[in-house]
Symmetry: none
Subunit: 160 residues, 2 copies
DNA sequence: GAAAATCCCATGGTATCCCATGAAATCCCG
DNA sequence: CGGGATTTCATGGGATACCATGGGATTTTC
């Protein structure tokens, strides 16, 4: 197993802990990152998370900018400054920081959404709404493209 | 852990001491620099700080300029001349010099912002303002760069 | 010799570790 | 093929360690 697949919903306990889905833990362990790298998404109320592989994609997008350039500063303040490395306890749980919970509107339950090299963390209700919206939008795209373009719309994200 | 990640806000005590966030201390210790290298930022009311790696980055970005050129002189005067090396006490605290505090407008609280190879020190209120600005600018950058930076941390296909 | 800087210890709140439990999925052997 | 035994996994709770902060004591500096 080397990709985050499928979605799961787990509960936060009184101390704010959530179990990371077991299959995700397997992915993280082969990835070999100690902890969970979490980054609030820029324009959704969700959190992107993953291990080394995910972290590298962030790092490489920063690498295109000259250190001390204004763009670099802006990017690193948001991408790195807002990120957090959560510790994973012996039972595979993490506690989300207040900042992350606030950003995603999380209170007592979270939904994990597998996205290959990373996964997202959502407040469950917001996620079902988002998924519905995404489906509609996908239909629109389909219509626009029409039946001529066989494999177009979802140009599967090639990885590095 | 080898990068400064996430943000923390700590208080200055009566003697002007602040705790460096524990995770930053871990980074500094593997970096192997005894103390904290601090440099006022050029165009913001903040302070850049870090260890060896940070210092090297300053050096190499200076190397881009012709030695003895006016630009080089100006840069080295500020980048190096205004820098300070703060001592870290046994409990992981530093005291900011008056000059640094004045430059950043710091009185009784500071926010540490992780930026990978370095971190910044801000007056908390100023920082939240700057962060908001940074996010907006980042949205612009994303659009400008477009789909080239596929995996730039967050949601692909941003079209709100 | 006084002010300032440094060291050392105390403390309270929080996060982390470790073990327990129950439910569900898996396995295994008849 | 089936049904009981075992493992996996999410969740809960108590004990412990860590960390930010405060303050006294000792050393340094001019």
């Amino acid at each position: 197993m080397d990709e985050f697949v499928s979605t799961f919903t787990n509960r936060l306990d009184a101390k704010g802990r959530v179990s990371i889905p077991a299959s995700y833990r397997a992915v993280l362990s082969v990835d070999g990152f100690d902890g969970l790298y979490c980054c609030p998404t820029l324009d959704r109320q969700a959190v992107d998370a993953g291990g080394n592989r995910f972290r590298q994609t962030i790092g490489s997008s920063l690498a295109n900018f000259e250190p001390f350039s204004e763009d670099h500063e802006l990017l690193s303040t948001t991408l790195i400054g807002e990120s957090e490395i959560l510790k994973i306890d012996g039972d595979g749980r993490v506690v989300l920081s207040d900042a992350l919970k606030a950003h995603a509107g999380i209170t007592d339950k979270v939904t994990f959404v597998g996205q290959g090299y990373k996964f997202q963390i959502w407040e469950p209700d917001r996620f079902v709404a988002y998924r519905a919206e995404a489906k509609n939008r996908l239909r629109d795209i389909r219509k626009r493209l029409g039946p001529t373009h066989r494999a177009a719309g979802a140009s599967q994200r090639t990885e590095d």
